[in-house]
């Protein structure tokens, strides 16, 4: 009985209250020569079918590491997950055997990476790389698999897909390469799609097209999507809710519109104020003072306190819990009320 509950994943649907994906108090650390780097310190978030969660944060905030932990593609060692759960349809992925985990990866939880040029294998054609999903996981013949690949390339709107199926990644433009990456990730109709900064390497106009494509694919298939980004502009149109990460933990959770109107954490507020605005043209851009925390040597108390305009004495000693503000909002700041009201700062 016990084995059944850990090794066999429930099929789609019929879950009761359990969300599609739930990360619970996840900790990830890396053993390095300089010491133990605590990249993720107690992250929790959840995702329902058809929902888009945007995870926002600067480099080193732990947003990508969390995603890689969900995918199970961290190099362990040096990485280690000392604590936490990643429940997919109620089953803790961290307790699965390697084999069962491989069955989830790519088929039920898939990932789109940042730079498609380095993320695609340079020596195989794009058709080969997409069709590999069908050949390996579905046991299709070469020809059927390639036909499926062409269908997918059409679906992500690559012009002349049939002619281009035997081209290599370097023969495509950046935007087209990212479309191929997306085609590969949605090949087997995953229930969760993790997009790790999918537009960072692209031109602004192409960024919008790719985001539109992702949103459209999600509407069609009702998959849950985790969108990792440091770009607040990208998030507004597609995300349902936002989790802001800082120093390896979530500092604010909120539905997308609330966060733009009334941020409840000084870090989120700083991020929003640093977006260039047309009505402030000519003025100096706002920047959050100081540097991101050193993960080897985290500040005491709240990790953000050295940079925080709202800092009080207890911020230096007490690490704030995630205070619940309402049913859908929370903030890891002792003074979230002041931030919400817009005092000081």
């Amino acid at each position: 009985m016990r084995k059944a509950s850990t090794d066999v994943l429930p099929a789609e649907g019929g879950l009761g209250n359990e969300p599609l994906l739930a990360v619970e108090d996840l900790h990830v650390e890396f053993a390095t020569r300089a010491g133990i780097v605590r990249a993720v310190n107690g992250v929790s978030y959840s995702l329902s079918p058809g929902e888009t969660l945007a995870v926002l944060g600067e480099s080193g905030s732990g947003k990508s590491v969390t995603a890689q932990a969900i995918m199970g593609i961290l190099d362990m060692p040096p990485a280690r997950i000392p604590k936490g759960e990643i429940r997919f349809r109620g089953t803790d992925l961290l307790k699965l055997s390697d084999e069962a985990r491989t069955q989830v990866r790519g088929q039920r939880i898939a990932m789109v990476f940042q730079d498609a040029l380095s993320a695609l294998n340079p020596v195989f054609t794009v058709g080969w790389q997409i069709s590999e999903m069908f050949r390996v996981h579905r046991g299709m013949s070469k020809r059927d698999a390639v036909n499926k690949a062409v269908e997918l390339m059409d679906k992500v709107r690559i012009p002349a897909a049939r002619q281009r199926v035997n081209d290599y990644p370097h023969q495509f433009s950046g935007g087209m390469r990212q479309r191929i990456m997306i085609a590969m990730s949605i090949a087997l109709d995953p229930e969760v799609l993790i997009a790790d900064e999918p537009t960072t390497a692209l031109d602004v106009t192409v960024q919008a097209q790719i985001m539109e494509l992702l949103a459209e694919l999600q509407r069609e298939s009702n998959m849950g999507m985790i969108l990792i980004t440091h770009d607040l502009g990208v998030v507004a149109d597609v995300a349902d809710k936002i989790a802001v990460m800082y120093g390896g933990r979530i500092v604010e959770n909120a539905p997308v519109h609330d966060i733009y109107k009334t941020p409840a954490h000084p870090y989120t507020k700083g991020l929003l104020e640093s977006i260039p605005r047309v009505d402030l043209k000519g003025q100096e851009l706002y920047a959050i003072k100081g540097l991101p925390p050193n993960l080897l040597d985290m500040p005491t108390g709240c990790a953000f306190h050295p940079r925080c305009p709202y800092r009080q004495d207890n911020c230096v000693t007490d690490n704030p819990p995630l205070y619940e503000i309402s049913g859908t909002r929370s903030s890891a700041c002792h003074y979230w009320r002041e931030v919400l009201d817009g005092d000081q700062g």
């Binding site: 995918m71 491989t102 790519g106 996981h137 290599y168 370097h170």
Partner: protein, 314 residues
């Protein structure tokens, strides 16, 4: 691509001329008279000496001598004769094959042992076996073939034969067929095996860190497929270059190995040629070695384009 091959072959002409002229001049500068050496201690008839010197153009200046020689090769396919009157082509015919066999045996050993050890070390990076393999390659690189040759002759040739009662690894000659080539092949390949092992290890470790390997893992492929298909295919590219260029070095390096194991190939022949000041022998063999080098490098460059689609030749 065809144009590229033609351009490369045209580029090969000055290389070939330069290399042969260089060797020709070196042998020309060696002290001693080859005609006098023919008779050893005996007195020679001055008339015959004069005729022979004339016949072999020995009284002409260096560049003219070189012209007679090189035009003979390129215009008539005539590599000249030894001072005893044997055509060089006839002298080299069987010997070239012997050296090629030896070099190929060495190349296969190098490829198989080097790649396997390199893979093993790369997949167990940082563990005991990795350290052991690296230490072993360091040993192979540090000890010259002159030493490994004699040591292996003694251990695997003599002692092993005494221990088991039959000969497994012959220590001289080529009368036992492929078996005769095993020991000399290994000695010849020794340092190359070590370098290839290290190159394979580095190349694979490097490749396995790439983003596309992470993608392959994220696709839910087995580790075996991730490494075997996505990793190896990329890690192989630099190895092919090394192996191809090494074929030439192996044939050139055969001089020492063939002398140790008394193998009648061009290495042994070149040694005797230098010893007897037989200019046509030495230059003829070097010309062919240079050709092998050039062709091997061209094949490697073309293979490169096959292995790595990002490379195109126009």
């Amino acid at each position: 691509m065809g144009r590229y091959v033609i351009r490369r072959l045209i580029q090969a002409i000055p290389v070939l001329l330069g290399a042969t002229l260089f060797i020709f001049a070196i042998v020309f500068a060696l002290p001693g008279d080859p005609i006098a050496a023919l008779a050893g201690e005996k007195r020679q008839d001055p008339n015959i000496v004069m005729i022979m010197r004339d016949q072999y153009h020995l009284n002409d200046p260096l560049l003219l001598q070189y012209w007679y020689y090189i035009s003979g090769i390129f215009l008539r396919g005539d590599f000249g004769k030894t001072f005893a009157g044997v055509p060089i082509t006839q002298l080299m015919a069987g010997k070239f094959q012997v050296t090629l066999n030896l070099a190929l045996v060495a190349l296969v050993m190098e490829a198989v042992i080097g790649v396997l050890l390199g893979l093993w070390a790369a997949l167990r990076r940082g563990q005991a076996i990795d350290t052991m393999i690296l230490a072993a390659t360091l040993l192979l690189i540090s000890v010259p073939p002159l030493v490994t040759g004699f040591v292996l002759q003694l251990w695997l040739g003599v002692w092993l034969k005494q221990a088991v009662g039959t000969e497994i690894f012959p220590i001289a000659g080529i009368s036992a067929g492929l078996r005769s080539y095993l020991l000399p092949g290994f000695v010849l390949a020794g340092t190359s095996i070590a370098y290839l092992t290290r190159l394979t290890r580095t190349s694979l470790v490097e490749t396995l860190r790439s983003d596309y390997i992470r993608t392959a893992t994220a696709k839910g492929l087995s580790r075996r497929r991730v490494i075997g298909r996505h990793g190896l295919r990329n890690a192989l590219i630099p190895l092919v270059t090394f192996l191809g260029a090494d074929l030439g070095s192996l044939m050139g390096g055969a001089v020492i190995t063939e002398t140790i194991f008394n193998i009648p190939g061009i290495g042994l022949q070149i040694y005797q040629g230098v010893y007897l000041r037989e200019q046509p022998i030495v230059v003829g063999i070097v010309t062919i070695l240079v050709l092998v080098y050039i062709v091997a490098n061209l094949v490697v460059d073309l293979l490169y384009a096959v292995l790595d689609p990002r490379i195109r030749y126009e």
